[in-house]
């Protein structure tokens, strides 16, 4: 599903590569934690999957497509198959829960009848039934992140990228978030989650890929976060 082959990424004006000859394979339906300290290359990895950045060398395949051969014109179509969740939720403050989720479908031109059908389903999947007409500011952090997950998942992507989704949320609420991610993973969606949260990684017992200074230092199935942190 995601295939990195010897990928190196150096940002302009920086000597040290953000990713240094990284090769990794993520299969369909896998749940992978991407761990490592700040600046180790986790976010760069996710940005490369979205083709927000291009690698300096190496090749990347996502959902069967070679990203170097994907024209800019087709990038939006790639992104429709990838859902994204961030630490800062990125909800639209002037739209309610339903509208925030529906926005993702509206802007890719889905018919209204389809939107009316699937949005409530997804809102229920993330555990926000009955809160469809709340505004983001009326919700807790955990609930806002659930809205973001609903938006990321509403188009049934093949891959869900989560960049520190529990970074702004207290540990008790984080468990609920992880349950939703797990539920999404069980529908067959590949989940790739970058995180600092050792407790979560340890409790989930999923595959762990650890980055340090842009290199993969560990790739372990059913792993734990590690001891250094």
């Amino acid at each position: 599903m995601i295939h990195f082959d010897n990928v190196t990424k150096v940002y302009t004006n920086q000597n040290r590569p953000a990713l240094d000859h990284v090769s990794v394979d993520v299969d369909k339906g896998e749940f992978v934690f991407l761990v490592g300290p700040s600046g180790s290359g986790k976010s760069t990895f996710l940005r490369l999957v979205l083709k927000e950045e291009r690698p300096n060398s190496g090749s990347i395949h996502v959902a069967g497509k070679d990203l170097s051969k994907l024209s800019n014109f087709k990038v939006p179509h790639l992104r429709r198959r990838i859902g994204c969740v961030f630490q800062d939720f990125r909800l639209l403050p002037n739209k309610n829960v339903y509208e925030n989720v529906a926005f993702a479908l509206e802007v890719i031109g889905k018919p209204r009848r389809f939107i009316r059908k699937v949005v409530p389903e997804v809102i229920e999947l993330v555990g926000l039934e009955g809160k469809a007409h709340r505004m983001p500011e009326e919700l807790s952090g955990g609930e806002q992140q659930r809205v973001a997950m609903a938006r990321a998942f509403v188009n049934r992507p093949m891959i869900l990228l989560a960049d520190e989704p529990t970074g702004n949320i207290d540990p008790a609420t984080s468990i609920g978030i992880m349950k939703v991610l797990d539920r999404i993973n069980r529908t067959g969606t590949t989940v790739l989650m970058a995180t600092h949260d050792a407790a979560i990684v340890d409790s989930m017992r999923k595959r762990v890929v650890e980055l340090e200074d842009g290199k993969i230092v560990r790739d372990q199935s059913r792993g734990v976060y590690g001891q250094a942190y």
Partner: protein
């Protein structure tokens, strides 16, 4: 693609940057109106040129009793013999189409018809008017040569190429036209910069929305369209305003000077000018939005 979604986005964008939108509209309106005035003067001049070129004559003025011209000094009024030989000379010239003699009475009548200065009218008598030959040329461009050959002839006080008189009027209109076009160019430049700024502001205001649109895979055109539409609508409103200004200019300025201009500017020309300026205005607005969008909106 859903039209009402795009339009609500455009409306929100225009309202958020209301002052900038107004600035764009006013600049476009004034710039386009000046461009239109330039074009109207242009077609007025070419119309007049065509009209007058057919009628232009050489006037060969003859000496009167007290003519102040150098060739007539100490010679007094032109004699009958001089007139007769002059007529023959002129008729013999190959470029001359026909010659017409204007006597003092006719000249006086003509003068009274065209002159508006009352003091001058009251003191001028028929005897003061010079007699003249009106020479119509086959080719108006030969006027200089014919005038030069007639200037030294006995009894001739002065030869006037009427085209020179017209040329000074045309020269003035030319200056007006270049001024209008110059200011129009400056205004258009200002409009482009203003539109660039507006687009930057609205790209900044909407960075959340566009960021999410990008993330969920909205196509580039879907993301860019609201911005380009903002430019288009501002350009369109500006264009309509400039059309109104041009109609006012036509009614109050061109119509009032038409008394002196034998070839009036028709409404069909004005309509053409308005259409052209509106199209240019809208095109410039859309292009300016599109170009700045590429800089400020990552897709």
């Amino acid at each position: 693609m859903r039209a009402n979604f795009i339009f609500s986005e455009v409306w929100i964008g225009l309202r958020r940057n209301l002052t900038m939108t107004i600035a764009v509209i006013v600049t476009v309106a004034v710039g386009m109106a000046l461009l239109g005035v330039g074009m109207m003067i242009n077609s007025q001049v070419s119309k007049l040129t065509g009209f007058w070129t057919d009628k232009v004559e050489l006037s060969v003025y003859l000496c009167t009793k007290n003519a102040p011209f150098e060739p007539c000094k100490n010679k007094g009024t032109v004699t009958q013999e001089e007139k007769a030989s002059l007529k023959q000379t002129i008729e013999a010239l190959p470029d001359v189409e026909r010659v017409q003699f204007e006597n003092q009475a006719e000249a006086y009548k003509h003068f009274q018809e065209t002159e508006s200065n009352r003091t001058l009218l009251s003191v001028t008598k028929a005897e003061d008017m010079p007699e003249s030959f009106r020479v119509k040329l086959k080719d108006p461009d030969k006027a200089e040569a014919v005038a030069a050959s007639l200037k030294g002839q006995p009894g001739v006080s002065n030869v006037v190429n009427e085209r020179d008189l017209l040329e000074s009027v045309f020269g003035f209109m030319d200056k007006l036209r270049y001024m209008a076009l110059g200011i129009a160019a400056l205004m258009l430049f200002a409009a482009i910069l203003l539109i660039g700024n507006t687009v930057r502001l609205s790209a900044y205001n909407r960075r959340r929305e566009t960021g999410i649109m990008r993330l969920v895979g909205a196509s580039n055109i879907y993301i860019q369209l609201p911005f380009v539409m903002e430019g288009l609508i501002a350009g369109l409103i500006g264009g309509v305003l400039s059309g109104v200004i041009l109609i006012i200019v036509k009614v109050f300025i061109f119509e009032s000077i038409q008394t002196y201009m034998a070839a009036p500017l028709g409404w069909d020309t004005v309509a053409g000018v308005i259409t052209a300026t509106m199209a240019i205005g809208v095109l410039i607005c859309v292009l300016a939005s599109f170009v700045t969008l590429r800089r400020y909106l990552r897709v």
